[in-house]
């Protein structure tokens, strides 16, 4: 067990598990964000956001989430560096014309960087004012005072450039997931000729639901609210 993460498959296992963990996070995140589409002036969304800010989640689950991101990113960097080395210094003059290979699968690191860049902006937009500086406005709902997260979102999405950034980030995430989802199960060994097709279809569906979900929220926020 001790040496498992020192092996290539062990490193991939970490990518797989952290990736699947982040997939779970995405499901929760998207579910809460979909409340932004409820035309109630942001009340439901603010309650949910406030729930997610409760100490158990903030101090208990959030560090785990961060760790998930960090493991996923650091190991992505390590694996990419190792793989470049394994490929060798001499490159093919005639390139690679192997057909039927998913573009995403060969560009996961670049897609990951796109998502990371977006993630940084996202943290600055929300996590910093809500959880670090507490600079966000307050609102009282049902007698409970809380951050007006909805207002933060609502204002942010007035900026067209930010909407575009979110759309690009979400699509990057989508493409990343089209490969990452089934690939995680393949790495876990939970795949064969039948299940690979199932995981791939499920992964593509999931990727687009998540991606289009976030895109829809950004666009609706910009246009409607």
């Amino acid at each position: 067990m001790s040496t498992i993460f020192g092996s290539s498959i062990g490193r991939k296992l970490l990518m797989s598990l952290s990736g699947l963990f982040l997939v779970v996070f995405l499901i929760i995140h998207l579910s809460i964000n979909l409340l932004l589409l409820v035309p109630d002036g942001g009340e439901a969304f603010n309650i949910a956001a406030n729930f997610m800010a409760m100490p158990l989640i903030k101090y208990g689950l959030q560090p785990v989430l961060f760790a998930g991101f960090i493991v996923h990113i650091i190991y992505a960097a390590i694996l990419t560096a190792q793989n470049n080395k394994a490929r060798g210094s001499a490159k093919y003059a005639s390139g690679n014309k192997t057909q039927d290979v998913m573009w995403a699968s060969k560009n996961m690191f670049v897609l990951g960087l796109t998502v990371s860049a977006f993630l940084i902006v996202h943290l600055i937009d929300y996590w910093v004012p809500l959880q670090i500086t507490h600079a966000a406005q307050k609102v009282t709902i049902g007698g409970v005072e809380m951050h007006d997260t909805y207002a933060l979102v609502n204002v942010a999405f007035d900026d067209l450039w930010r909407v575009i950034l979110y759309v690009v980030g979400s699509l990057g995430l989508t493409i990343h997931l089209t490969h990452g989802f089934w690939s995680a199960f393949q790495t876990l060994g939970l795949s064969n000729n039948i299940w690979r097709k199932r995981w791939t279809v499920a992964g593509i569906a999931f990727a687009w639901i998540v991606g289009l979900g976030f895109v829809t929220i950004a666009v609706v926020q910009h246009v409607v609210y």
Binding site: S7, A90, T98, V101, S191
Partner: protein, 251 residues
């Protein structure tokens, strides 16, 4: 029908393992489309020798797609522009008159160039030596029909065992990973009761050797499966992952 075509060949030439290589360009006229790619290389070499030059060194042997000796990265693909073939089975009818063909050696840190288009694939033998067998010595084994094996398992093991060890999987993989090769052997033996006995040990030892020899980490692009001349499936890689993780978790 067969016809003759003219070609321009850009061929990697390298005098020795430590020497610097370069591309040389050769013109070849009147090549029959009925000839195989390696026969075209023979014609080129005959021409070079007649001109007093050194012929191009390339690996080949059985010329019927089973020994795994031939390699060559042709126009961006290992074993060239046809599916489910080795270079020796590639025929010139796949090329157009006047076409320029770029011919390179397998390129991967695990497969250093020896000369021209010949690379060293001894790493594959080292991986097999690390555990790609059943530990039975000659004699004293049970009757061949003593253990029934389901036809499905036997067929699947056969599919995995059809690997010819050519290295196209490594050559095409953007990560220089040998996972398809290793997984084919691990799967072949893990699927059979005779091999199952030491499946855990085998998976661990073979993966450790593969890592030690500097092959990359699999990122499941599936390019190996596409270029494998024997169509070995990446579901074998899933099985290797499963066998390996199971083995490691039991340690």
């Amino acid at each position: 029908m067969e016809k003759n075509i003219s070609l321009t060949l850009k061929v990697w030439r390298q005098n020795g393992p430590k020497e610097k290589g370069r591309f040389e360009t050769y013109k070849l006229e009147e090549v029959s489309t009925g000839s195989s790619f390696l026969e075209m290389m023979d014609i080129l070499n005959e021409q070079l020798i007649n001109e007093g030059n050194e012929p191009v060194a390339f690996d080949h042997d059985c010329r019927e797609g089973i020994c795994g000796m031939c390699s060559l990265y042709i126009n961006g693909r290992p074993h060239g522009p046809d599916d489910d073939v080795t270079t020796c089975q590639l025929h010139m009818r796949k090329f157009k008159d006047g076409e320029t063909i770029t011919i390179e050696p397998w390129r991967s840190a695990g497969f250093p160039v020896i000369k021209d288009l010949i690379v060293n694939r001894n790493a594959f033998d080292s991986i097999i030596a690390a555990g790609g067998y059943t530990s039975v010595s000659t004699g004293g084994v049970p009757d061949a029909n003593a253990i029934p094996i389901s036809k499905i398992d036997a067929d699947e093991a056969m599919d995995a065992a059809s690997c010819i060890g050519c290295g196209a999987c490594v050559a095409t993989c953007k990560n220089g990973s040998a996972m398809l090769f290793v997984s084919a052997k691990v799967s072949h033996l893990a699927l059979l009761p005779q091999g199952k006995v030491e499946a855990a040990r085998r998976a661990k030892n073979m993966v450790a050797k593969m890592d030690e020899l500097g092959f990359g980490n699999c990122t499941n692009t599936g390019a190996c499966e596409v270029e494998c001349p024997k169509g070995i499936s990446i579901s074998n890689i899933a099985r290797l992952n499963r066998e390996f993780l199971k083995a490691k978790l039991q340690d």
